[in-house]
């Protein structure tokens, strides 16, 4: 583990001094971007032409918003790497574990499934 090891008060103070806060102006800029992206999200939802691109685009837009809020509003950009790790570990566990969980539902082995009738095991709405 390469976590930063700081043990003297002096170093702590240095860290404090380094603490970097965006200005309100920057905050407002971020918020404007957030607003625009949200507008896009809603817009493409209604635009037929987007077609199959809808879901990837939505994912992308949500990701942008997510990252902006986390990095700027939550200061993760400027803060200790440890905090990033704590959060990203949680995110990663959640994403991986639940991707697998959902995969076991949506991609049940066809082999185990031939001729199954009346099963509502997965994707029942189709």
């Amino acid at each position: 583990m390469s976590l930063p090891e700081v043990s003297t008060h002096q170093q702590i103070d240095e860290l404090r001094a380094e603490e970097h806060h965006p200005t309100p102006r920057q905050y407002v800029k971020v918020a404007i971007v957030l607003f625009v992206v949200t507008a896009f999200e809603v817009a493409i939802y209604y635009i037929e032409a987007v077609g199959g691109l809808l879901v990837p685009l939505l994912l992308l837009f949500a990701l942008i918003k997510f990252v902006l809020v986390v990095l700027w509003f939550m200061h993760l950009r400027f803060d200790s790497r440890l905090f990033r790790r704590l959060f990203v570990t949680g995110m990663a566990f959640a994403l991986i574990v639940f991707a697998i969980v959902l995969a076991t539902f949506f991609f049940r082995d066809p082999g185990a499934f031939t001729e199954s009738n009346g099963s509502n095991g997965s994707s029942s709405s189709e």
Partner: protein
């Protein structure tokens, strides 16, 4: 003094008592809280053990008449829940509470009041679950409460389950956050990560496992609660709910959970073996790394509990492979423990015996665990007593042996008196023999087809003899437990007084007096080595032999210059806030809105009082 007593902040006068009943309710000293955790967990161990004895009595003979089906089902469910959530987890937390600050050179945990809150929530949660026995029946859906059975079982039992485990989970989560911050941020100067005792490392891994696993259980329990109490359809197959969702959520929590149960014990063993072998731990880095690896890999194996559920061959293969390979890091630990003893100068104390007993028995449980990973044969084993054998070998032979090793090892530090070695050894051998008599034959009857969770079996099944043996074994364990109790009582009365460092220990806790003062260390230690205390006590001859440089223990505290130490002051609020939990619980189970409101109000009141109260009384 008089002015201090008059200080009023918030609603109550600040609690002052340092002895007596109230001092325990209001304490936020990690050591006292550790003791509270330990005593509570031990009481639950007796209760869970008595339930096990009834289970064994019922099964001793075919067509047993000791319990009826209803009571039997409650007993095995409560036995499982108790042992896991109210015994092994909190007993680990007890030791973690007491010794994390002492071993990293801190004066307390990062959030002392949150720590107290965890304990009270745990206690109230346990009492809440147990009260169901007197309110119409305890949970009876098995400790993993498979839906849809758990949502349809009549009575309130499984509602208590869904809310009770929720409450216990809150305690665990709060504790986990606390320990993570404590370990990361409260270490004494010089205590780098690679100088931390392995027990600290394992506590850190456990805390992370709790941090990420408890919320998954929380969601599953909420879903069950909605299903049972508010007409939810999460697990109602009749309208498209999928029972496997529960299984996934439960075991995504459940498998990390089993490592939550075993890793503290592994940490203890990694402290006890070097101390009594007079050797540094063999392959420290590898043991630490293996512990972290187990923690990680533990997230990728959960569906091995669902091999018979019909996930299909691809998923089964994937989970079987991940499961098998968990043996590798675990093996590293086992080999390095043996390496630690190798070439040592071993003192066969009780603590050491329990630690070695842990290694010896855990190997058996681990190997049977690996045999479960062979899916086609697991289809035969699963839900038989072969599984019951596996998990008691890792849970009793593993966790419980390890925890008792820790108790014998650290007892003198906590209570200032040693536990008797003669009785201790008697205890160990009774446990060792009784344990193998009880759980060894389970492998055999399991492979002869005895399913688990059956309250009765007819006489022509060929299981009679072994079941009788198991029952006898369980009573041998019970006698062993009584021996321990006697030992503890005698030790309190006339046990040998403990010096600060009775075992010639290696880590910081042994530099403090036994028991340690409230502030732990009069001077915050400066750490220069792994096994720092040992290095302060011993220099090395050119041949590498240790020579004593000063009598470390006598260095004990001089009581002079601790006056400037500001410790957090006791507080009513953590216990008060926790008291809201059972109200919320009962209110929800019986859908009594006023009770829920009262519970929420108490909780909020506690939290506000807590928030407005300065943590140190000037």
């Amino acid at each position: 003094m008089a002015t201090a007593a008059l200080t009023r902040r918030g609603m109550f006068a600040r609690p002052r008592a340092t002895t007596g009943w109230w001092s325990w309710v209001t304490t936020i000293d990690h050591k006292k809280i550790g003791i509270l955790y330990g005593v509570t967990a031990f009481v639950f161990f007796l209760i869970g053990g008595v339930e096990a004895l009834f289970i064994r009595l019922q099964l001793a003979r075919p067509d047993g008449q000791v319990l009826d089906a209803e009571l039997y089902n409650q007993f095995f469910t409560m036995h499982g829940i108790t042992m896991i959530f109210m015994v092994v987890m909190p007993m680990g937390v007890a030791l973690m509470n007491y010794f994390i600050p002492l071993m990293i050179g801190a004066r307390d945990v990062a959030f002392p009041r949150l720590n107290a809150f965890s304990y009270w929530v745990f206690l109230f949660g346990g009492i809440f679950v147990y009260s169901s026995f007197f309110l119409g029946g305890a949970p009876d859906g098995g400790w993993f409460g498979y839906a849809p059975l758990s949502r349809t079982l009549p009575g309130h039992g499984m509602s208590y389950y869904s809310l009770g485990l929720q409450i216990l989970g809150i305690a665990s989560l709060a504790g986990a956050v606390n320990f993570i911050v404590t370990i990361l941020n409260m270490r004494a100067p010089g205590m780098t990560f690679m100088r931390m005792p392995v027990f600290i490392w394992m506590s850190l891994v456990v805390s992370f496992l709790l941090l990420f696993a408890m919320p998954v259980l929380a969601v599953a329990l909420f879903q069950l609660m909605f299903d049972r109490l508010f007409g939810g359809n999460f697990f109602n197959p009749a309208v498209g709910g999928d029972p496997l969702l529960w299984q996934h959520l439960f075991w995504v929590f459940g498998h990390p959970e089993v490592y939550i149960l075993i890793l503290p014990a592994m940490g203890i063993v990694s402290e006890v073996l070097p101390t009594f072998s007079r050797k540094p731990l063999f392959g420290y880095a590898a043991i630490v790394f293996a512990g972290v690896a187990i923690g990680f890999m533990g997230w990728g194996v959960w569906a091995h509990h669902m091999f018979a559920a019909g996930l299909g061959p691809v998923a089964n293969t994937a989970f079987a492979l991940t499961t098998m390979f968990i043996a590798v890091p675990t093996g590293i630990k086992i080999f390095n423990w043996v390496g630690t003893m190798w070439g040592g100068s071993i003192r066969l104390t009780t603590a050491f015996l329990f630690a070695v007993g842990f290694v010896a028995m855990f190997i058996i449980g681990g190997l049977s665990g690996v045999t479960h990973a062979f899916v086609p044969h697991d289809a035969q084993q699963t839900d038989t007593y072969y599984i019951v054998a596996h998990f008691h070998y890792v849970l009793f032979g593993g966790a419980i042996f390890g925890l008792f090793g820790g108790l014998y090892y650290w007892w003198p530090k906590v209570f200032g008196r040693l536990l008797g070695e003669r009785l201790g050894k008697l205890h160990f051998w009774l446990y060792f023999i009784g344990f193998n008599l009880t759980f060894g034959p389970m492998h055999i009857v399991g492979l002869q087809g005895q399913p688990r969770r059956i309250y009765t079996y007819p006489e022509n099944m060929g299981w009679d003899l072994w079941n009788l043996v198991m029952t006898v074994g369980a009573f041998v364990i019970a006698v062993g437990t009584l021996v321990f109790i006697v030992n503890a009582v005698l030790s309190r009365k006339r046990g040998e007084e403990a010096v600060a460092d009775p075992w010639d220990g290696r880590t910081l806790e042994w530099t403090t007096p036994s028991p340690p003062p409230e502030y732990n260390f009069s001077d915050v230690p400066l750490v220069t080595h792994r096994d720092d205390f040992w290095h302060k006590k011993y220099a090395r001859t050119p041949e590498g032999e240790p020579v004593r440089v000063f009598a470390g223990a006598e260095h004990a505290d001089d009581d002079e210059h601790h006056h400037g130490i500001h410790l957090p002051s006791p507080s009513y609020f953590p216990a008060l806030a926790a008291l809201g939990m059972p109200f919320l619980g009962y209110g929800t189970v019986y859908k009594i809105l006023p009770a829920m409101i009262v519970g929420a109000a108490i909780l909020l009141l506690g939290l506000f009082g807590w928030g407005l109260e300065p943590s140190v009384e000037e």
